[in-house]
């Protein structure tokens, strides 16, 4: 297999008790869109800053293009475009001054792609950025990240503040970027955004990766919702002991269950209670995502 663009192994960064990230491992392959999904405060931005050498790890190993961000940050930054999560620009400078100064600092002479991006995102360049809305500032941030056609884009919550039309524009830009053979790493707390565009993703919660898989793989593992109606009142006890079954609701002879894996044992347990009706809804990624967010007691798996 080709060398990963990003290789993170047992990465740990602590900021006092219960903060930071713990034993994070994943790999990003060349030419893929890799999603990094998690609730606010889960450790997404911390991981990103470690990838870029903005933070130093407490333990563990990071390689970006086979280089260590702690000592080879210049070579890495030359090939990376970064959009920070809480994008901060210089309030008194205009968008154009930002683009010009950063293009010069990167030694970028051909501005045609940059101008094309400005046009696509309808970025406002002539007013000081302090007078711009969040969305308009975000557009400038996106142009800054993409304009030098970097081999790896690291985008922290890239669509925050963008209207739906521009979100679509962003997604087509990401697709073009990977069809060019380049790689995109993007973080988000919104499942919708991620499942529209990513090939694989990691879900991070409280500083730990809880799963890494393709969207399709996750969908297979996602829980289905099954509802039984019984002739008489039943108690949830009949189902609570079953593997992969969670009782969502149980009242008046109706039982709603969230089921992962095989349904055989569940059907056998239900059959004894004489059900009169059954409805099943297909796998729901939202439900899976929420279940990962919710389940405090679940084991932690270092998927790669």
């Amino acid at each position: 297999m080709t060398e990963p663009v990003v290789r993170v192994e047992s990465l740990t960064r602590r900021f006092g008790a219960n903060r930071g990230i713990e034993q994070v491992s994943f790999r990003v392959r060349p030419g893929e869109v890799f999603g990094f999904l998690g609730p606010n405060g889960a450790g997404k931005s911390t991981t990103i800053r470690l990838l870029l050498g903005l933070y130093r790890p407490s333990f563990g190993r990071i390689q970006v293009f086979g280089l260590d961000p702690s000592c080879d940050s210049v070579a890495i930054h030359r090939r990376v475009g970064y959009l920070p999560g809480e994008l901060a620009l210089f309030p008194r400078l205009t968008g154009r001054q930002h683009l010009d100064r950063f293009a010069r600092a990167r030694g970028l002479r051909d501005h045609s792609y940059r101008d094309e991006l400005v046009e696509r995102f309808t970025a406002e360049l002539d007013r000081p950025v302090r007078t711009l809305s969040k969305g308009n500032r975000q557009k400038i941030g996106l142009v800054l990240a993409f304009m030098h056609r970097p081999d790896l884009l690291v985008l922290d919550e890239p669509t925050s503040g963008l209207d739906p039309l521009l979100q679509n524009e962003f997604i087509s830009l990401v697709r073009e970027t990977v069809s060019d053979g380049r790689t995109v790493f993007l973080s988000s707390h919104e499942l919708d955004e991620v499942q529209r565009v990513v090939d694989r993703l990691s879900i991070i919660k409280q500083g730990r990766i809880i799963v890494t898989d393709t969207v399709e793989g996750l969908r297979k593992a996602a829980p289905r919702t099954i509802e039984f109606r019984f002739a008489s009142t039943v108690t949830p006890d009949a189902f609570t002991g079953l593997d992969g079954v969670r009782v969502l609701h149980c009242a008046d002879g109706r039982v709603t269950l969230s089921v992962t894996g095989s349904v055989g044992p569940l059907l056998r347990a239900a059959a004894i209670l004489d059900p009169v009706d059954l409805t099943a809804r297909p796998a729901d990624l939202d439900e899976l995502f929420l279940s990962y967010y919710r389940d405090e007691a679940e084991g932690v798996s270092d998927g790669r």
């Binding site: 800053r49 933070y55 930054h77 920070p84 901060a88 100064r101 800054l144």
Partner: protein, 262 residues
């Protein structure tokens, strides 16, 4: 590319650099133009004659009616260093810690430029902060030759370099504290307190006998507090100021290498 980060920061600070320079020029010109009215006022010398602590607090010691005494008491012992320090400490605190708090440092720190070069460009910018103010003051003082305010070139050059080096010292200390703490507030507090203490020690040392030996601990003494306006800047004192700046800059480079940039 070389110098882009310095140019960016200079553009961001341009207003305050030139604003202070214009303000200082106006003030210096007034001081210079007032000299003919005071040069024969012997009562003014009585103010400092008996070693007045109040006069010393304002940086005035020695005769006030000589050209160098007049410039020392009204410009170089207090206002010029004060404005120079406002500029260099202000930039020193905002250049690393302040920009990190604002979040803009992340954009700079992810350019293909090493942390060391980023910090060096910011050190150069810091050193340039006070140049317009110092030059504007020098020009006004030179204009004083038309107002009977004859001052030797070595004294003027010496005290100008002294106050610039003083500014660089405290600016570099501010950058060091900023690179260690990442906090603009802490940086401004710590560095301003150090500068205020250094000022008090240097200006009170001539009149408070027990403080006299302590003047060697004050950077103000090496820069402007040892008769530099009349005698120029001794090479040894320039070396002390340059040495302190070098130490603070090396410390800043090492600390910035390890700073967590948000």
């Amino acid at each position: 590319m070389a110098g882009d980060i310095a140019r960016l920061d200079l553009a961001l600070r341009r207003r305050s650099m030139y604003g202070y320079a214009i303000g200082m020029a106006v003030y210096a010109f007034v001081i210079v133009a007032l000299y003919p009215s005071f040069k024969n006022d012997t009562s003014l010398d009585k103010f400092t004659e008996d070693g007045s602590t109040v006069a010393a607090l304002f940086g005035a010691s020695g005769p006030l009616t000589t050209p160098s005494g007049w410039l020392n008491a009204n410009l170089y012992a207090n206002f010029v260093p004060l404005v120079v320090l406002l500029l260099t400490i202000g930039y020193g605190a905002s250049s690393l810690a302040g920009q990190d708090e604002d979040g803009t440092l992340a954009l700079i720190a992810t350019l293909p430029v090493s942390r060391r070069r980023i910090a060096l460009q910011k050190v150069a910018t810091m050193a340039l902060q006070a140049v317009p103010v110092s030059l504007a003051t020098v020009l006004c003082v030179l204009a004083g030759r038309g107002f009977d305010l004859a001052i030797g070139t070595s004294g003027l050059v010496g005290v100008t370099i002294g106050s610039l080096l003083l500014g660089i010292d405290f600016g570099a200390i501010a950058m060091l504290v900023g690179a260690v703490t990442g906090s603009r507030g802490t940086t401004l507090g710590v560095t301003s307190a150090l500068a205020a203490a250094a000022y008090l020690v240097s200006s009170l040392a001539p009149v408070v006998s027990w403080l006299h030996p302590a003047r060697y601990t004050s950077l103000f003494f090496y820069a402007v507090g040892d008769g530099q306006v009349s005698r120029g800047l001794p090479l040894g004192w320039a070396a002390v100021l340059a040495g302190v700046a070098a130490l603070a800059i090396v410390g800043c480079l090492l600390a910035f290498d390890r700073l967590d940039v948000r």
